[in-house]
Every structure is written in C-alpha cells, then in structure tokens.
Amino acid sequence: MKENREERIASVVLIVFSAAYLVGAYYIPMPIFKQQLGPGAFPIAIGIGMLTLACIYAWQQFRGGTKEKETEEEIEKRATIIGAEEKIEKKADLKTMGFMLVMMVFYAFAFERLGYAISTFVVFMAGVLYLDRRHLVRDAVIAVIFSFVLYYIFSVFLRVNLPAGPLKFLEF
C-alpha cells in the first residue's frame, strides 16, 4: 500500500478524534444509584480501541506504507466485498462538489423557512444551471413537478406534513 499525504493527515485527524471521544467518555458521570458497570465503561472501551487503531494507522502511514502481506490480487478480491467499491484515485472536481455542498447546506436552512416547495425548486434549478444547461425548459418543468406538484401530493393525499413557508396562504 502506498503512502499518501491525504492519508497521513487523515490518520492524525483520526487520532485527535479518538482522543477527544475518549476524553468525553472519561467525563461521563456515574448515575445516582451505583451500578456494576457505569455508563462510561463501554464508551471508554470504544475510545481506547479507536485510539489504538488510529495510532496503528498513523504508524503505517508515517513509516511508508505497509509491507505486502498479501498479493495485490488477493487484496482486490477481498476489497470489493462490502461497500468498498473502486478506490477514488482521480482528482476530484472540488468546485462542483463545493457548489453542491453549499446548495445542500442552503437547502437544509431554507427547508423550513422558505418551505419545501420553494427551496426544492431553487436548489433543483441551481443544480441544473450549474451542472448541465442544455435542456433548461425540460428540466424546469421537472423541477416544478418535483417541488410544487409533489408538495401537493404529499400534503393532501398522503397527509405528510411538509413546511409551507411563505406560501402558507395556499395551504389546503
């Protein structure tokens, strides 16, 4: 396994996280009535485990990668087993990801204030405008269907409570 600047930074972050969790676990108070094993025991065990693993990980990274214990082929065979699909080696398009991240955070904040319909429409259109503008009309129609029409379906037919925002006057 190769060494990797990203992974080195990551291993340090994981050590810090594990340590923080462990400290938090240590400070969990004992309950009023004495118990065999207090609420802090399990977290402390987990914290120690995580810290140990993070340190091993950091050690692996900082001394230049692990020795080849198994052939690449065997590792690949085991790797695609549960959820570890292709390793992301290519450079990531940070601008696009960053934009969508900002949109998602906006979506989270606007969901209640602007209501489901408006915020969904805004986020959807922003996404379309940024990612692929070739079919604006078609996509705008889709956006309207999924925000306003879906809102109608959910609140009237399914009786699901979605925030209406400033469109409250339209409430059914």
Binding site: M1, E6, E7, A10, L14, I28, P29, P31, Q35, Q36, L37, G38, P39, F42, P43, I46, G47, G49, M50, L53, I56, Y57, Q60, K69, E76, R78, A79, T80, I81, I82, G83, A84, E85, K87, I88, K90, A92, D93, T96, M97, M100, L101, M104, V105, Y107, A108, F111, E112, Y116, T120, V123, F124, G127, V128, L131, F146, F154, V160, N161, L162
Partner: protein, 508 residues
C-alpha cells in the same frame, strides 16, 4: 407428523397474510423499486433501502418488511442488468457478473446473459426461501436458549465477520465498526438515564437518528462521488441484439452452474453469514475450479453469469435467515433493514419467530411471490429497464438529493437532522476517499445499544466477572469464531512463521 402439520399451518398462514391485495401491491412496489435501484448505476441496495425507508412509515410491520425484502431482492436482480449491458456493477454483488456478462453482451449475446442471470436468480431465491421455511424455526429454537452472554458474543462474531470482509484494510474496517459503536453511544443511556455526548442539545437526547446517518453516509456520499467527475462522465451502453432466450447448449451449461452457485451462495450467505458479494466471488472461484468450460471464463462463458447471480440471490435469502432467526444482520443491507424494523418498534430475533408467526411467515410467503414477480419483471420487461439507463447523471443526482431531504425531514420534522445528514454525507465521501468502508459503521450503529445492554446484563449476572463469556460453551464458540474472522488476513503470515519455527528447531 407434528412438524409437517405445523409446517403446512404456517405456510397457509403466511400466504393468507401475503396474499392480501395490499400486501401483494406492496410486494410488487418493492420488487419494482428494487429492480429500479439495482439498474440505476450510482445507487446500491444499501442506499436504496435507506432512501425508501420513509415509505414504510405508517405501515404495519409485516407490510413494511415485505416492502423492504422486495427492494432487497429486486436490487439483486436489477444489478445484473447494468453489469451485463454497461460493464458497471449496479452494486457490489454484481461486480463479478461484469466479467463474463459484458463479454457476452459484446458478442451479441446480451439476451441469453440477462436470461441466465434472471432465471438463476429465481431458482436460487426460491431455494433460499425454502430453506428458510424448513430450517428457520429450528434455528430460532436454538437461539431461544441464548442468554445475554450468548447474544453479546453473537453480535461480536457478526460484527467481526463483516468487518474482516469489508474493504482492503482491517485496521480501517475495525475503526469504522468502532466509529459506528461510538455513534450508537450518543444519547441517553438506557440503563442509567445519564446523557452521553449530547452536547447540551435536546434533539440529541435520543441519539443520532439512524436514518440521518444511513442516508448521509450512503446516498449523499454517492452524490459527492458522482459530482466529483460529473463533467466528464461518459457512459457507453450496449443494446440487446438478438433473442432473449437460451439455446439448448446454453441450458446444458446453465443447470450445473446454477446448482453450484445456489448451494455455495446459500452456504456463504446463510451459514457463514458473509453476504451476497462474497458469495458471488466464491461462486466465480468455484466455476473456475469445477466448471467444465472453465477456460472460457473471462471471455463470455455463461457459467460466469449464472454462478455468481444464483449465488448472490441465495446469499441474500440466507442473510434474511440470520436477520429473522437470530436478529443479527449478515450484510450491510440487512443491517439497514434491521435499523428500519427497530424504528418501527420490532425486535427481530428468535422471539419474533415464535411470538409473531404471522409476520415471519407472511414475509416468507411474499418472498416466493416476489421471486415470481421479479422473474416476470426482468425477462420480458428488460427493455424497459434499459431505457432508464438513459437518464442523465446530473438529474439522477439531483433526484437523490431531493429524496434524501424529503425522507429525512419526514422522520422528525427537524431541520437539524437535514444539516446532520449533509455532514455525514461529507464524512461519507471522505471515508470513501480514504478507503474506509461505510457498512461496518452502519452495523455498529444498529447493534451498538443492544450489544452494550447485553454486555452489562451479562456482567450483572456474573457479578462483574468477565469469565462468563468464556465459561459458557456457545458464547466461547462464538468468540472463537470472532477471533478466527479477525485474524483471517494474517493466517498466511502466521502459517509461515510457525513453519519457520519448526524448521529451525531441530537443528540444535
């Protein structure tokens, strides 16, 4: 005679539950959505089940699990379609199908490949369900004798088996599992009413909502993965030329590989509890060793499609045995299903089998029905599914974002949950970049509270002595399994070291 009598009673009960129009509809919706999810690249069954959990709110538990099981099975079927036509696995258990399936498609034999996958999946799924019917009650009966120490060790074993198979690095997978357990400790401790890691936030008193983490870690993470190279994404798709049917020659080769795949898949998924993806790899390996036409593997041999596809469906059925009889999920997807059932208020496990026969047998019956529906959906209608692959990726991504927000918000009407979900989406992406697998995290979250509870109960029984886990035979055996699972990657090394020791010793 009693067993048989009981058996038929249960079957009748099951079909009466599964046969209600509403449940039939749900079964159909489930397998339909599942196939959809399996076909669409970029959403795997774990993400799909997580996204569709909100649909199960307000449903009876039996209806909910019929829906989810349908989705699970459907995804197994649908994943093979993209593997064969686009050389992109729909999910991890279809990776192997790409190898020979795509080759067959390139040679103009996409039809037979798809047919082999669908029929093989059907046979295997039916077999697994049959096994569940025959042996489920027996397994549940054994598990009824489990006390807290046995349950604890069972969960440890389940966690370690999944962990040892997840991803390239054991260290990272173990860390992921512990991370999941750590998340599970957030909230008020059940046994002492002490708040843990709640940061003074009243919404966190119940801990992090399972769905928030699941959807963030899987669905939103996929969104970021897709966004990372959206602008360059190009997908080449092959069309289905020629007939859909298998020739006589195909059938002769199909049958043995289907049988091998089914049996090996059931063993791996049902008995070892290792999951559908492992099963598909094991089956491919088996075909390489035992198949008559093994030299053709990799160039378009039909065994390379039939074996793994049968295996992964058999394993999925087997994983459901684990889930229902023992209450321990054997794979990432069943872990999510367990989380969903817990949310509804059900505790899967041996007690469920005896106390809620309608639930369990209704599910079993609907699995049969679902299998048949899937065969119909996947053979003649495969052309329809293929059209779906034409949806542009950016639209798909936006849909996923929308459904994620919708689904998570309807849980608790909490905007804070939405924000947390986005945070976990980022965490999920970072984890993917670092090659830290996400499935153990989910497993840890789902099992965490129960595991801690059983551990503490055990220590109360034993008055604080840890030996209780080792003194009881079943518990000891399970912990031994756990050790075996964890040391698995290092066996070669250990073997080498031992041999070296023996070689040097006599020269004294």
């Amino acid at each position: 005679m009693d067993f048989l009598g009981q058996f038929w009673n249960n079957v009748a009960l099951g079909f009466s539950v599964a046969g209600t129009p509403f449940n039939l509809l749900l079964c159909f919706v489930g397998v339909f959505l599942g196939t959809l999810i399996g076909v669409l690249p970029g959403i795997g069954p774990m993400t799909g089940v997580a996204l569709l959990i909100p649909l199960t709110f307000g449903l009876q538990p039996s209806a909910a699990i019929i829906l989810m099981a349908g989705i699970y099975y459907g995804a197994m079927y649908g994943g093979s379609t993209t593997s064969i036509l686009v050389n992109t696995p729909g999910e991890s258990s279809s990776v192997v199908t790409c190898l020979d399936g795509y080759q067959m498609a390139k040679k103009g034999r996409a039809g037979p490949a798809l047919a082999a996958a669908a029929i093989g999946s059907f046979v295997a799924g039916t077999f697994a369900t049959l096994m569940l019917m025959l042996f489920g009650p027996w397994v549940a009966g054994i598990a009824l004798n489990f006390g807290p120490p046995e349950f604890f060790s069972l969960m440890v074993a389940g966690l370690t088996v999944v962990t040892s198979l997840a991803g390239r690095s054991l260290v990272k997978a173990l860390f992921a599992t512990l991370f999941g357990l750590a998340i599970a400790t957030m909230g008020i401790d059940n046994q002492s009413a002490v708040p843990r890691f709640t940061f003074g936030n009243p919404e966190l008193l119940d801990g992090l909502e399972f769905l928030v983490v699941a959807i963030g870690l899987f669905a939103l993470c996929e969104v970021f993965v897709n966004l990372a190279d959206m602008k360059e994404a190009v997908q080449e798709r092959l069309s289905i030329k020629g007939s859909l049917w298998l020739t006589k020659e195909d059938w002769k080769r199909f049958v043995p590989s289907c049988i091998r795949g089914t049996l090996s898949g059931f063993f791996v998924g049902g008995i070892a509890g290792a999951g559908a993806a492992v099963a598909s790899f094991v089956s491919y390996g088996l075909e390489k060793k035992a198949g008559k036409y093994r030299d053709e593997l990799g160039k378009g041999a039909i065994e390379g499609v039939t074996g793994p596809e049968s295996a992964n469906n058999a394993a999925a059925g087997g994983a459901l045995i684990h889930l229902l009889c023992l209450g321990i999920p054997g794979s990432g997807t069943t872990a999510i299903m367990l989380g969903a059932l817990l949310m509804i208020g059900l505790q899967p496990g041996p007690l469920l089998f005896t106390q809620q026969p309608a639930f369990v047998w209704g599910l079993i019956a609907s699995m049969y029905i679902g299998n048949i529906m899937l065969l119909v959906l996947n053979l003649p209608l495969v052309g329809m599914w293929v059209k779906l692959l034409d949806i542009p990726l950016y639209l798909l991504t936006l849909f996923i974002i929308m459904f994620s927000f919708l689904g998570v918000y309807t849980m608790n009407n909490s905007a804070q949950d939405l924000l947390l979900m986005v945070v976990f989406g980022v965490i999920g992406y970072l984890m993917k970049r670092l090659d830290i697998p996400a499935a153990p995290v989910i497993l840890g979250i789902v099992l965490g509270k129960l595991m801690e509870e059983k551990m503490r109960q055990s220590l109360v029984i034993s008055d604080g002595s840890v030996m209780i886990f080792l003194n009881r035979p079943i518990s000891l055996f399970l912990l031994f399994l756990a050790v075996v699972a964890i040391t698995n990657p290092y066996w070669k090394q250990i073997g080498r070291a031992i041999r070296r020791l023996f070689r040097e010793a006599p020269a004294r």
